[in-house]
């Protein structure tokens, strides 16, 4: 049949791109099993580190996802993370200096960091919606500004209070999973709640329906009375808040700011978003996968089991990001209107 030859290649491509992620995930499971047989304490450490490393990627990817679903491509996540980490850290540090109670200064820090990133989100919405600027350039501006500004303004030696670890009573006693899942800082739990929250919001609320519409066909949404510009502003601010939380997660684990501490996480988050096919639950899987490799590489660097320069292990997450982008690029179908300003008639 002629039909068969006509459709072969796209079908094969679709099949590959559909199952490849799962194949990779399986490979990961085998890697974990392998690691378990090697040393159970290390396995636990890698597991917990996976969750810790996945959390900022998750939030960064949610930031990208909300933006792109609304029609705005955000490559400034890296800058938003860095800027919020700096601002949050400074707020916590200064309020601790003013002898505010630890809890208060931590909360103020989170609020400050989230607000800073949300403000950047507003700025990017202004560039994309009101100025109809090229969105890639707007994101690049944010990244360059964030790195330059925080590097310049940061003074070494400043400290802030540590974040507490919250253990979930009962559950944290469980073998293996207890330490992996239920012994983390408060923001880490929040990150995972955000995934569920965004998933429900996107697929079960009118906000979600309209958000999906303005990213695909803003004209259609407009003709039924949805205010496209307003919604894009709103969503970029919400998305910015997500990236802000990601920045605060870095502060939660390091308890201090350091130069370029985001170290490419905002870009890896973009890969996570693509790999997760612009769906929150997909993003969850993708973030855990990349988080796992991040955890694995630091473990490998740390215990020096192999006689290989540690920088090579450091490359693993980035190599994987490239691989993910190459493969997932085939499958992920971005929202049709992403990247283009909406021209009202």
């Amino acid at each position: 049949m002629t039909t068969a030859t006509a459709t072969t290649s796209p079908t094969v491509k679709a099949t590959i791109s559909k199952y490849l992620p799962w194949a990779i995930a399986l490979a990961v499971m085998f890697a974990i099993l392998f690691a378990m047989s090697w040393d159970s304490r290390q396995t636990e450490a890698v597991g917990a580190a996976t969750v810790r490393a996945a959390a900022p990627l998750l939030l960064g990817a949610l930031c990208g996802l909300i933006g792109e679903r609304s029609g705005i491509i955000n490559i400034g996540i890296e800058g938003q993370i860095l800027l919020s980490a700096y601002c949050g850290f400074m707020v916590s540090s200064l309020s601790a200096d003013a002898s505010l109670p630890t809890v208060i200064s931590l909360i103020l820090g989170v609020v400050g960091g989230v607000a800073a990133s949300a403000l950047v989100g507003f700025f990017m919405a202004w560039c994309a919606v009101s100025l109809k600027m090229d969105q890639i350039i707007a994101g690049t501006v944010v990244n360059i500004f964030a790195l330059g500004f925080t590097s310049y303004a940061y003074v070494q030696g400043r400290t802030q209070p540590r974040y507490p670890n919250w253990t979930v009573p009962g559950l944290s006693e469980l073998p293996f999973v207890g330490d992996v899942l239920f012994n983390h800082g408060p923001l880490t739990y929040l990150a995972f709640f955000c995934v569920v929250g965004v998933h429900i919001a996107l697929f079960r609320t009118t906000w979600g329906l309209r958000t999906r519409a303005i990213g695909e066909h803003p004209g259609a949404a407009d003709t039924v009375g949805v205010d496209v510009a307003r919604m894009r502003y709103k969503n970029m601010i919400i998305a910015g808040a997500m990236a802000g939380l990601a920045g605060m997660l870095l502060i939660q684990s390091a308890s201090a700011f350091s130069r370029n501490m985001s170290n490419g996480k905002g870009f890896i988050a973009l890969a996570v978003m693509l790999f997760g096919r612009y769906r929150p639950l997909g993003v969850l899987g993708a973030a855990l996968l990349l988080g796992f490799f991040t955890a694995l590489q630091s473990q490998l660097q740390f215990n020096q089991a192999f006689d290989i320069p540690p920088q090579f292990f450091g490359m693993i997450p980035f190599l994987l990001t490239i691989a993910v982008l190459a493969v997932a690029g085939l499958a992920a179908r971005p929202p049709a209107a992403a990247g283009s300003p909406y021209e009202k008639e």
Partner: protein, 505 residues
């Protein structure tokens, strides 16, 4: 005092754009249960008028009354609230969303803080039953055929309680059968009391379904007439302002040797789908071969392969005695093939080039337009002046950028360029799409003149009227195959419609 019986009564609507008077004191009345045709050439101001009614544009002058009271319509939301619904020419549907999601969006049923999709689907099912517009509420819109997508658009308006339905060129994208179905849907809706404003430039549809027809010309209100008693000729004359030849008079074809032979041609599109699946046919000198078919059945890929723009996957294309299956567009053009492309903006003219440069795109590199690598501006200008005159192109000057011409005049520039050389073969793809009636007549005459001169003409058109008016022989393309090949005088509209929809008998 406004008439309370009228659903809509617009008076003296005027809209100016910089340098253009798009609507000059236009009146329009619509009664409940009435189908009003809105007729006019491209650029006559039909779209501007309905956009003012729907709140997309703000009229500079004039008033709109609805059921006797003055209506303030500042944006589409106001129009929707007042009971207006519009089905746009380009569907305003979100492809990846379901039918129900598209229909209820903006007025979603809720349960608590959540969007109640189940209820939305029930409401849509109920609505589609009530108006006899069958469609599955759960279907994903982009998987539906165009005719059903249009139904979704109509339901979208009805869901919002529309009593006035504005349909902007709704039949442009439909097969003849789908068009008939739509006309029936319009009659049924009108019977329930909905008033319909039906925009089209197809006179036959106006006669088939409307009660009255309002005609615009150059932004001016020409008249509103009862459809009863009107003829295609009388309407065309109102629309153009002079009598128009709707059916080109042509002598019998004096057919010669085959010029273009296509044998078992297979072509893939950019995504790898095979869209031309073993097409074989011939075009002989002195005849016009019409290729009928609903758009998207491989016609575009066929033409691209014939003109060398897209590689053929398999098969053989011969022009004269020369095998051109793998030839470049330049080689094919040099053999003597004129190409009037389907997408004139993209493939026909270079928008930023002047009219003069656009008129030598196929010959700029050779004498007399270039000598020793240097362009000969005097010859180029002389050529342009002559063609502008001969082809009646309305342009301020030959230096005007191509993009600032109207659609019809752009098309004339392309036709002038392509037919300014003596060609063996003319490939014309949708040559009169979006072109005003006056220019259509002109372009049709040119194509017939080429045929009478002895050229072979391949005419691809989604307009059956155009095929019937010009073609000597007709082939029908369906899903990439040539499903019929017949002399034009043997073909009937019904038969072609069925073939275009894939019916085989």
């Amino acid at each position: 005092m406004a008439d309370q019986q009228l659903l809509l009564d617009a008076r003296g609507l005027t809209k100016r754009f910089p340098g253009v008077l798009a609507n000059d004191s236009v009146d329009l009345q619509l009664a409940p249960g009435e189908i009003l045709g809105l007729l006019g050439e491209n650029g006559a101001g039909k779209s501007t008028l309905v956009k003012m009614l729907f709140g997309i544009y703000k009229p500079d002058e004039g008033e709109i009354f609805m059921k006797g009271s003055k209506a303030e319509i500042d944006e589409p939301g106001d129009a929707i609230e007042l009971g207006m619904g519009m089905v746009h020419q380009h569907f305003q549907l979100v492809g990846p969303l379901s039918v129900a999601e598209n229909i209820v969006m903006g007025a979603e049923p809720k349960r608590g803080m959540f969007f109640d999709l189940t209820k939305g689907e029930e409401q849509v099912a109920e609505l589609s039953q009530r108006f006899g517009l069958a469609v599955d509420p759960k279907a994903i819109v982009e998987d539906l055929p165009v005719g059903l997508q249009q139904r979704v658009e109509i339901l979208k308006a009805l869901y919002r309680g529309a009593e006035i339905l504005i349909l902007d060129e709704p039949t442009a994208v439909l097969t003849p059968q789908e068009t008939d179905e739509l006309l029936q849907v319009m009659r049924d809706l009108a019977a329930t009391g909905v008033g319909i404003i039906f925009i089209t430039h197809k006179l036959r549809e106006i006669l088939a379904v409307t009660d009255r027809v309002t005609v615009l010309r150059d932004g001016k209100w020409v008249g509103t007439e009862s459809t009863e008693g009107a003829t295609q000729e009388s309407l065309a004359e109102l629309m153009v302002g002079r009598s128009v030849v709707l059916r080109i008079d042509k002598d019998d074809a004096s057919v010669g040797e085959p010029v273009l032979s296509v044998h078992d041609l297979r072509v893939r599109d950019d995504r790898g789908h095979e869209l031309v699946r073993g097409a074989s046919f011939e075009v002989r000198s002195g005849e016009i071969l019409g290729v009928a078919g609903v758009e998207g059945n491989g016609q575009r890929e066929l033409v691209e392969a014939l003109t060398g723009i897209r590689p053929a996957n398999q098969g053989k294309v011969t022009i004269g005695t020369q095998d051109v299956t793998k030839a470049s567009p330049r080689t094919i053009a040099e053999i003597g093939v004129a190409h009037i492309p389907e997408d004139r903006e993209k493939d026909g003219i270079v928008g930023v080039y002047s009219v003069a440069d656009n008129m030598v795109l196929n010959q700029y590199f050779k004498a007399p337009f270039a000598k020793g690598g240097q362009r000969q501006f005097a010859a180029i200008a002389e050529n342009a002046e002559r063609l502008v005159e001969q082809y009646d192109v309305a342009t301020p000057s030959i230096k005007t950028p191509g993009k600032s011409l109207s659609g019809g005049n752009k098309q004339k520039v392309i036709v002038a360029r392509e037919l300014s050389i003596e060609n063996k073969l003319v490939i014309a793809s949708q040559p009169t799409r979006g072109v005003d009636v006056g220019s259509i007549e002109f372009i049709h005459k040119q194509l017939v003149a080429e045929r009478d001169r002895g050229a072979a003409v391949l005419l691809v058109s989604a307009e059956l009227d155009e095929i019937f008016s010009l073609a000597d022989r007709i082939i029908v393309m369906y899903e990439g195959e040539v499903v019929a090949d017949m002399p034009a005088e043997d073909a009937t509209r019904e038969q072609l419609g069925l073939l275009m929809a894939g019916a085989t008998d």
